[in-house]
């Protein structure tokens, strides 16, 4: 049997709060200054959590036509802009032959919920009746209600005509989509995958539903310090928005065209906790199993991990669960491995964040810098690892582990490595 095909990243694009474009994104992450603020997307009076990490994003300033800006949902626009940046960086030319061997795998937890929320008001008269007025729906509601339209937009943008899918597993969607893309490449169903994730959840219905379960931070008076993963005083996550897209190729394909390889995706693994749609068991058992599986696939010992990009959402439950999972999976190495949560800086963009965090891992490998956990002043005694508090750390990163945890019980892990690094 042939050895499995290796998969590499040759292009990255990011749209994140105070981080549109890879360069801005990396500057923001390494600054350790949180981009969270009072919500401006709508009047949040009356909501429990009134803060978020928003993107100052005007689609027409980022290359979208008026028609595209009107048609595409905000999450679709994020993906579009990120995909264009990734494709440009990769230098890939999607010729007719390449098109048939290029696919799309895009993650999203809540698709075009912002537009579903906005248009609902129009067609219902602010909820006046159960029956709706189709004549007020405008031309694009079907797209918003069918989130696979996000994939269509990326396929049209890039010319991809291979296998295409949206992958949705709550807050692990962004890791799972890249995992899916890797599988498509390894099995030989495509040579190139445009993959990543996007979400634009800062809209009343999403803010209200997280209010209802008290998952988001009510730290409204001091938004910049609201997202504080692993800190004793954390009180929930802060919603974010954005997208990240990668050009992923088989190593063979990338090398044949002389592409610059940013990092190799050495492994992806997932498990479910089968416990609860939102709650986590404190022992971290299933997350640890996902990490174990990913490390086994990548043939990497726990000691060889240079950096862990944590899920680190900043809820009481998550940060303990996750810390327990690292100890369970990595043993003593857990205490010696730097772990950080970039959600402290850019918030939690649900399905998008897994891909944005993978982008951070790739950039950590490329630049030899570990982005810090902002706002971590007083660690929770139950969270006793090296969380790289406050300040970025210069350190060679050959192996990075990225971990995600999502509603539904989804636990995912991916391993990125510097191509050719001895390990």
């Amino acid at each position: 049997m042939l050895p499995p095909r290796r998969v590499v990243i040759t292009g990255i694009g990011v749209v994140a709060p105070r981080g549109i474009g890879v360069k801005n994104f990396w500057e923001t992450l390494t600054s350790g200054r949180s981009a969270t603020r009072n919500i401006t997307a709508f009047d949040a009076t009356g909501f429990r959590s009134r803060i978020a990490a928003e993107c100052d994003f005007l689609p027409t300033e980022h290359g979208l036509t008026q028609e595209q800006a009107a048609r595409m949902s905000r999450s679709s626009q994020f993906a579009h802009v990120a995909a264009r940046e990734a494709l440009a960086q990769s230098g890939l030319e999607v010729t007719e032959r390449v098109a048939a061997r290029t696919g799309v795998a895009l993650g999203s937890a809540v698709g075009s919920v912002r537009e579903l929320d906005r248009l609902y008001r129009e067609i219902s008269g602010d909820g006046a009746s159960w029956e709706l007025a189709p004549e007020k729906a405008g031309p694009y509601l079907a797209d918003y209600n069918t989130p696979s339209s996000l994939v269509r937009e990326i396929a049209w943008l890039t010319g991809a005509q291979g296998p295409a899918a949206m992958i949705s597993a709550g807050c692990t969607s962004g890791l799972d989509a890249v995992g899916y893309a890797c599988e498509i490449l390894r099995e030989g169903s495509a040579d190139v995958m445009i993959t990543g994730a996007t979400d634009a959840p800062i809209t009343p219905i999403t803010v209200a539903c997280f209010d209802a379960i008290k998952a988001t931070s009510p730290h409204n008076d001091d938004p910049e310090h609201a997202s504080r993963p692993f800190d004793r005083d954390r009180d929930g996550f802060v919603l974010g928005e954005g997208g990240a897209v990668f050009v992923l190729e088989t190593a063979e394909h990338a090398h044949a065209r002389g592409a610059h390889v940013i990092a190799e995706v050495a492994a992806f693994a997932a498990r479910c906790n089968a416990h609860h749609m939102t709650a986590l068991r404190p022992d971290g058992r299933e997350m640890a199993a996902a990490i174990d599986s990913a490390l086994t696939t990548a043939r990497i010992a726990p000691e060889a991990i240079d950096y862990i990009n944590a899920h680190g959402s900043g809820t009481k439950q998550n940060d303990r669960h996750e810390t327990a999972a690292y100890k369970r999976s990595l043993g003593d190495a857990a205490r010696r491995t730097p772990v950080s949560s970039i959600k402290s800086v850019i918030g939690h963009s649900l399905g998008a964040i897994g891909s944005i965090e993978l982008a951070a891992c790739a950039l950590a490998i490329e630049h030899g810098v570990i982005p810090p956990t902002a706002n971590l002043h007083t660690p929770d005694p139950d969270c006793d690892l090296d969380y790289v508090p406050l300040v970025a750390r210069e350190q060679r990163v050959d192996v990075a582990l990225s971990v995600g945890s999502g509603f539904g019980g989804f636990q995912s892990a991916a391993v990125l490595v510097k191509e050719g690094a001895h390990r």
């Binding site: 429990r48 209802a212 379960i213 008290k214 609860h276 749609m277 939102t278 709650a279």
Partner: protein
């Protein structure tokens, strides 16, 4: 106004159905919600419904302490008494 165990039963049923174990109409006052099979989300939903129907602010209730129907009923009644006192 007083919040009774029966009032809680009605709201629990509407918000979270029948318990996984046992009979909600039986002696449940001291059985933990966990043992009955009601999870944290079901309880948040129940509190929210109590708030709407009884007009009492319970949204920042100490969930970790309200582990049984009786504890929840007592807590709601203490809040109701406080609100009445304010008026």
């Amino acid at each position: 106004m007083n919040f009774s165990l029966d009032g809680l039963r009605t709201i629990l049923r509407a918000c979270a159905g029948e318990p996984e174990n046992g009979d909600l109409d039986g002696e449940v006052a001291a059985i933990t919600f966990e043992d009955l099979g009601y999870d944290s989300i079901a309880l948040l939903e129940t509190l929210s419904r109590i708030e709407q129907e009884y007009g009492v602010a319970v949204d920042e209730a100490p969930m970790d302490e309200l582990t049984t129907p009786q504890a929840l009923v007592d807590y709601v009644n203490s809040r109701l008494a406080r609100e009445t006192a304010h008026v």
